[in-house]
């Protein structure tokens, strides 16, 4: 083996601290060589090891009888009945997207799809919660346009529909956008496979794209450090990988065929940390070791160094563990799909991950496979609430000059510009697609295509404003909002995945935010009986040492038990009563954390309104049940922008206005008190509905009647539908470029 590095600059350049170097020295009982050091540096990076967050993540509830695979595997898997399992995962590709928006977003989609088919599932849905700097900032517009094009370009071509998401613009993401991607897949329960290598003498077959020099150090250099000077950031561009959706599509089909024929004993995608991660993870999960021959790796260019081959993050690659007798068939299927396949490793019984120059050649690296994972450092970093927390919380966020009509117009935004660029209908499952509260997909058997008569619902939600004011309650509120969204399409929650986007973990305030958010999520997940089955932590979201507002994003997956007709629409019918269901806000409810306070009133602090989690649980269950029993004509969640924005969205959707009786000041119009929905019930069923609601302890108030061509609040405030529609629909096309030739 090559001699040990002689000075500390080597491990520091790789992103390892001096303490971490000493830890490696202790584990190996010798100095590591350069290749070994590089392997530890990628595996012990924040991105791969969760070393700063693990201690907090342990507090999340992760178990339920229907959970087949919880956090720690490539994706969470839940049992949804009829011998069908669903795999789900969420990930971030924030930093690559800041540097190279199109490829950053594209490879984010590619990476998470591999996580899903690694579990034996066919990916059938993608959701993309996106957050960018303000629309009046040219660079943020460039990033937003590039990211949406990247999701569209890759997702459409690889053939997985993008069925929902979010789009948020705020100053806090200027310089550090958040590009999160959720993917979901279905599999016959018996096909569930885990990423592990077992069976001494079995072969590790590298499938897919050749290995190049792209993406080296992506997890360490890029994902685990913040942004500063733009010239330095531009230097990080080679750390962003380049995606090829056609390669991924063939790889996906080939892998599903291999799984169908039972030709693999374990399979693992290659993402962050490349071959190092895939070989060591499969080996250590299977309690085995592995010999890897670097000369067998099909490479994109000549003269690649072993360290480059072992840490490259080239996209569209998988590692399959195959019994020697099946190798011929594996190669046959691969070549039918025009996929390269190389035997690069052998499973051994000694627990060592050895990198060899030819299977019988020189040993370039040799380390206990499990030390790359199990022995990664775990930090209990100092945490502290902001020093001025008391002062911040005493602020009154309702101050500022309100002009209710114009404020309402400025708070409206139609995301159609984004989702019309995504194929959201492929696979014929999309009953309720993007642009609504929750997404609802038909659940069909993955093998036979037979309908189960049930539906799977999805929603992703985040709210940096609530979480900035109070990361604990704010996070509980976003879980509740996501659950309420799927309730609006008739589903009850089954599980949660989370993407925890935070700033620099070396700042005690950031660690406090993370810890608080985990506690808020825990409370809400327990209340809704929806365990966390997977997640991703993205830290170092900062620019010039300024952290982003804490932005945990949750994805909730739920079940619609009897899907025979589409759920109610958002749009208002004419001449019906408009009801608000759920928690009744106090008379002087706080405006802290509202979109109004941030964008119009100019106050980002205060204390969040009281949130009654138990009430939210009752309301969500009641709504889901009412939708399933087809008792609602229209329904819409009340979220950002409060009641006024929700009512306006309902009016715009159908072109029918409403007269709302007593909401006529900015506090009652725009407060974001949690756990509420707007709904319409047929007049003749209204009395029975009210009685039923009261028996289920769900408050219902009638707040107005639908009809007419304007939306009115009290006697003074009238907004013509045309104005609402124009304000809503024109903002994104005007800022980001029209996607159609019409108008």
């Amino acid at each position: 083996m090559s001699p040990a590095p002689e000075d500390a600059s080597v491990h520091r350049a790789l992103g390892l601290s001096d303490d971490e170097y000493q830890r490696i020295h202790g584990l190996l009982d010798r100095h590591p060589n350069h290749l070994e050091l590089a392997m530890y540096s990628v595996m012990w990076s924040e991105h791969c090891s969760y070393k700063s967050s693990k201690i907090h993540l342990k507090r999340l509830p992760t178990e339920a009888p229907w959970v087949l695979v919880g956090p720690g595997e490539n994706a969470g898997v839940i049992d949804v009945g009829d011998d069908i399992a669903v795999a789900i995962r969420i990930e971030s590709h924030n930093h690559p997207s800041a540097i190279e928006p199109y490829q950053g977003a594209a490879t984010g989609v590619g990476g998470i799809l591999r996580d899903i088919f690694t579990m034996g599932a066919r990916p059938i849905a993608v959701m993309d919660p996106l957050r960018f700097g303000p629309l009046d900032d040219p660079r943020s517009r460039w990033i937003a346009e590039g990211v949406v094009s990247g999701v569209s370009g890759y997702g459409n071509s690889v053939g997985v529909p993008t069925v929902g998401g979010e789009i948020v613009f705020d100053e806090t993401y200027k310089g550090n956008p958040l590009v999160n991607v959720l993917a979901m897949g279905v599999l016959p329960s018996e096909r569930l496979v885990l990423g592990q290598a077992s069976g001494i003498g079995n072969l590790a077959v590298l499938l897919g794209a050749s290995t190049g020099r792209d993406g080296i150090g992506g997890v360490s250099v890029l994902a685990s450090a913040g942004f500063g000077e733009s010239s330095e950031d531009a230097d990080k561009r080679p750390s962003v990988q380049v995606g090829d959706p056609f390669e991924e599509k063939r790889l996906l089909e080939a892998c599903l065929e291999l799984l169908d024929e039972g030709l693999v004993t374990g399979i693992q995608d290659l993402g962050g940390a490349g071959i190092t991660c895939a070989t060591s993870e499969t080996a250590s999960r299977g309690g085995a070791g592995m010999d890897v021959d670097v000369t067998a790796i099909h490479a994109r260019e000549e003269n690649m160094e072993p360290v480059e081959l072992m840490t490259s993050e080239s996209q569209e690659r998988m590692l399959a563990i195959v019994e020697p007798k099946d190798l011929t068939r594996v190669i046959e299927i691969s070549s039918r799909w025009e996929i390269e396949a190389s035997v690069i490793g052998r499973v051994t019984d000694n627990g060592q991950l050895r990198v060899l120059n030819g299977f019988d050649g020189e040993v370039l690296a040799s380390l206990p496979a499990s030390t790359l994972h199990d022995d990664a450092p775990e930090y209990d970093r100092p945490l502290a609430p902001p020093r001025d927390l008391t002062e911040r919380r005493s602020k009154d966020a309702s101050q500022g000059s309100a002009d209710c009509v114009n404020d309402l117009l400025s708070l409206l935004r139609d995301p159609a510009w984004v989702y019309s660029q995504y194929d959201h209908q492929l696979f014929l499952n999309t009953v309720v697609g993007p642009g609504n509260d929750g997404t609802l997909l038909r659940l069909r058997h993955p093998r036979t295509g037979e309908e189960t008569g049930r539906g799977i619902a999805l929603s992703t939600d985040g709210n940096h404003r609530w979480c900035h004011v109070d990361p604990r309650q704010g996070t509980a509120m976003i879980v509740a909002e996501a659950v309420m969204n799927i309730a609006c399409v008739g589903a009850y929650p089954l599980a949660v995945v989370n993407c925890l986007n935070f700033g620099n973990p070396e700042h005690p305030e950031v660690m406090w935010q993370l810890s608080e958010a985990v506690d808020g999520m825990t409370e809400a997940c327990i209340a809704f009986n929806a365990p966390v089955v997977g997640g991703n932590v993205s830290l170092y979201n900062e620019t010039n040492a300024v952290d982003i507002a804490p932005t945990p994003v949750v994805g909730v997956i739920g079940m619609h038990p009897s899907l025979s007709v589409p759920p109610p629409v958002i749009g208002l019918p004419t001449d019906a009563s408009l009801l608000v269901l759920g928690q009744v806000p106090e008379a002087d409810v706080s405006m802290a954390g509202t979109q109004w306070a941030w964008e119009i009133g100019g106050c980002k602090d205060g204390t969040l309104p009281t949130f009654d989690l138990a009430q939210a649980v009752r309301t969500a269950a009641f709504i889901a049940d009412a939708v399933q029993r087809q008792r609602l004509v229209a329904v819409h969640d009340v979220g950002e922008g409060g009641l006024a924005v929700a009512a306006a969205e309902m009016a715009i959707d159908s072109g029918v206005g409403a007269q709302i009786n007593y909401h006529n000041d900015h506090i009652s119009m725009f407060n974001e008190s949690g756990g509420r929905v707007l709904a319409v019930v047929q007049d003749e069923l209204l009395d029975a509905f009210m009685t039923d609601a009261s028996e289920h302890e769900v408050p219902v108030r009638e707040i107005g009647r639908t009809g007419g061509s304007s939306l009115t609040f009290g006697a003074e405030i009238t907004v013509p539908l045309n104005d609402l529609e124009n304000a809503c629909r024109n903002e994104l096309p005007e800022a980001l470029g029209r996607g159609t030739i019409s108008a």
Binding site: S420, Y422, L426, F427, V565, G739
Partner: protein, 219 residues
């Protein structure tokens, strides 16, 4: 007698199983045909479904036209066999010169997935057996390259021979003469950008695609 429809699968095709499902739901039989084979397996009709055959690399449909199956489809079409190209399939048919013209990038330079209203302009083709000219349908589109172009002479000919099958009510992509679908002179080869298989269930928001697929099933 039920009709057996061959649904072509290139690497990169992604609507093949949706098309198969739609055919099954309407009582037809479907057979997936691999692009590398040259046998059409005695099917009664062929659908080239949507997707990104060969990644749409070089140009949509430009590589697909060289797949072995295309030679057989060419002969099948020349003998009067019904052939429907949907979206990417339409692009493949123009590249293979089974249909005239070409499909270029949408005028707005964006991918577009949305429900569209289209008018059934001409029913004298394999899709028109259950329809009458002037029927208005709601069928989704899903494409980046759906902007139909052709020479003035070809356009003239298409109009005169009543070969414009569908027109958009609100042209979403800049297609010449609002064209959403055309057929060959014999009416047995049709190409269309909208996806009829996506409009075959009330749960999906429209059932207007069923008449088109049904028409193909008795062709």
């Amino acid at each position: 007698m039920s009709c057996r429809v061959g649904v072509v699968r290139f690497p990169g095709t992604n609507c093949e199983f949706d098309t198969v499902d739609a055919i099954h739901s309407l009582g037809g039989e479907a057979e997936v045909l691999w692009h590398g084979d040259s046998s059409l397996k005695n099917v009664d009709a062929v659908v080239i479904p949507g997707g990104f055959a060969h990644g749409d690399y070089l140009r949509c449909g430009a590589i697909a036209k060289f797949s072995p199956i295309m030679e057989s489809i060419n002969s099948f079409a020349k003998e009067g066999g019904p052939v429907l190209g949907i979206c990417n399939g339409f692009q493949v048919l123009t590249e293979a010169e089974l249909l005239p013209g070409a499909l270029q990038k949408n005028a707005g330079m964006k991918f577009l997935c949305s429900m569209q209203r289209i008018d059934f302009v001409s029913t004298s083709n394999v899709l028109g057996r259950h329809a009458k000219a002037g029927d208005r349908l709601r069928i989704p589109i899903n494409h980046f390259e759906g902007n139909y172009v052709c020479s003035p002479e070809v356009l003239n000919q298409l109009e005169e021979e009543n070969r414009v099958v569908f027109r958009y009510v609100d042209n979403p992509n800049g297609s010449i003469a609002d064209i959403a679908g055309i057929c060959n002179a014999e009416g047995n080869v049709v190409g269309m950008m909208p996806h009829p298989e996506r409009a075959t269930s009330p749960l999906l928001g429209s059932t207007d695609g069923t008449t088109l697929i049904q028409s193909l099933l008795i062709a």
